[in-house]
Amino acid sequence: MSALAAVVRAELFKMLRKRRTYVLAALLWLLLPALVLLIGRLLEMNLRGTFVDESETVATVVRQLASPFGIARVALVGPALLSPTFYIIAVALVSGVLVGEERSHRMWKTVLTAQPNRLAVLSGKLIVAMLVLGALFAGGFLAASLFGVAGTMFLTTDLTGEWGELVRLYLLQWLFAGAATIFAFLMIFVSRNVSLGMVLVFFLPPLLEGLYSIYRTTVGVQPLTRLNAVFQALELQAAMEALPRYFFTVNLYAPARRPLTDLVRLLGGQPGSDLGPLTVLLRNDTTLLHSGLVMLGYGLLFLGALIWLFLRRDVD
């Protein structure tokens, strides 16, 4: 058996015996679809027919929200709208088990003597993280669909929907999570502290992006200030203006947030107009291809740093 296969088997063995794996699965597979179904039921029971001509609007909302397709879509979109998002929490918790625990329980010395091939150890752990996240995503999709099917028995919903597109977005979101997983591995490994590493995973990208927002609000990019003059001299003005298109979080959740635009349109909103806090989430100046390439760039950058550090660092 190859070293990589051995590591994958061993780490799966460990992950399946860790309670937090099942807590995450229960939240995404059971709690979220059950809540959506309950909300759909409450909407239908309490609002339908309250006002003249609103019957169809409520039925539309219920269909969009609590049909098998609707719940599966909410199970994709919903976790990407929290702060920090469910996705990054899941990534950090899974990475914490796979990388952080080795540090906190002083297990690196054991792991790396049982399997001295460090590249295999790192690759195997990354593969297991992606497998666990993939199982969470796939399970979320299936559970949501099944809850939706159950809902058809007491709600005015059916099985229609663009299922192929939704599956594609699930798949893309899972692939995009790969860059976040490598980032989480890197932060937890570099910080040598699970808690600090997780805090960095949750807050470092928003912090950097927030700092840019502060700069943009207070100094601005266009007016001629000393700072802007430096950027102009370095011919970085355009890059500075375009920076948000390359932000980590903006691109990371691009597939999961994509259906949100359709939902807003359906409910009468215009993604291009000012929609308050939703404006940031409904960015329509980036394509999925652009986001995919940005996340690939981040992934490769973090992976290079992680491999370099992991292969060199002494184990205490």
């Binding site: 058996m1 070293a3 296969a5 051995a6 590591v7 088997r9 061993a10 063995f13 460990k14 015996r17 860790k18 309670r19 625990e101 329980h105 002083r106 297990m107 690196w108 010395k109 054991t110 792991v111 790396l112 003597t113 049982a114 399997q115 001295p116 460090r118 060199r312 002494d314 184990v315």
Partner: protein, 309 residues
């Protein structure tokens, strides 16, 4: 450098490790033959654990090289090494058996039956189903030993494996290691207590402040400690009488300008020195042991309790 000798299991050549400005291991060299059981002695902080970590591929040397079974570390032969370095660590939420299963999967190629064999070997078969978080220190030590034997390694690197064990536990672990050695496994076992290794190893390496002080047979080390001459400074009411008495007892002596006498006494006889001089009529005003070389002092302390104060 790769050792050519087919009988060398562990080869260390001018190995050193520096952390910032401090040197943990300072250019040590030694070899351990296949099937040999060698003790690695030194006080805490002497560089034993760092050396073992370098041999296990966990720490990169700052200089020199080390090899296992003729291959440079971190080479493929590391798969033939079993280790227990410092306090054994486990996933606390897994049982003892699950921890071994995880290690077996990680290494690959371990028969499922082997887990039962090693658990039985260390006497842990009944407690194997409990979570490790509920284990005592002694149980963790035993489980650590079981894990180090899991893939039937050719080389075993053990760092103070009897730490935290009661005398019965120490004797049991010693018996288990003797059995392991009998099967032809090469064992490098570190300790800071000479007596702990006395009935187990034939050869010892003594390390202090990162440097190798002694490499040779355990018997020779014990003889060397026993025969070591310890310098004493003596002052008596009659210097001539003191000289005659010291000559009568057969000790090498040196007269100092301030009237005192320096004599060298075998360590084994030092406790009886003052009584013997008194019986020969010497009235001593002052008698004190003179500080001797670091090596000599260390070797004596090693025999007494292994830990310099």
């Amino acid at each position: 450098m790769i050792t050519n000798g087919v009988n060398t299991a562990i080869g260390v050549h001018q190995l050193s490790k520096r952390y910032g400005g401090s040197t943990a291991v300072d250019g040590i060299s030694f070899e351990v033959g296949k099937g040999e059981v060698v003790g690695f002695l030194g006080p805490n902080g002497a560089g034993k654990t760092t050396t073992l970590r370098m041999l296990a591929g966990l720490v990169r040397p700052s200089g020199g090289s080390c090899e296992i079974l003729g291959q440079a570390v971190r080479g493929p032969t590391l798969r033939e090494v079993g280790t227990m370095i410092e306090e054994p660590s486990f996933y606390p939420y897994l049982s003892g058996r699950a921890n071994l299963q995880h290690a077996a999967l990680l290494h690959g190629g371990v028969r499922p039956r082997r887990i039962d064999e090693v658990l039985e070997f260390v006497g842990m078969e009944l407690a194997a189903g409990k979570r490790v978080s509920a284990y005592s220190q002694g149980m963790r030590q035993r489980l650590g030993l079981a894990r180090s034997l899991l893939w039937s390694p050719e080389v075993l690197l053990l760092d103070e494996p009897t730490n935290g064990l009661d005398p019965v536990g120490i004797a049991e672990v010693r018996d288990q290691l003797r059995e392991v050695a009998r099967r032809g496994v090469t064992v490098l076992i570190s300790s800071h207590i000479l007596s702990e290794l006395e009935k187990l190893v034939g050869r010892v390496l003594v390390i202090e402040q990162g440097r190798l002080l002694y490499a040779g047979s355990l018997d020779r080390l014990i003889r060397r400690i026993d025969e070591q001459l310890v310098p004493y400074l003596l002052l008596s009411t009659d210097a001539d009488e003191l000289c005659r008495a010291a000559e009568t007892l057969g000790h090498r002596l040196e007269r100092l300008d301030d009237g005192r006498l320096r004599i060298w006494v075998p360590d084994t006889e030092s406790d009886a020195l003052i009584g013997r001089l008194s019986r020969l009529g010497v009235e001593l005003i002052d008698a004190r042991r003179e500080s001797d070389s670091l090596e000599g002092a260390y070797l004596r302390l090693l025999k007494q309790d292994g830990r310099p104060s």
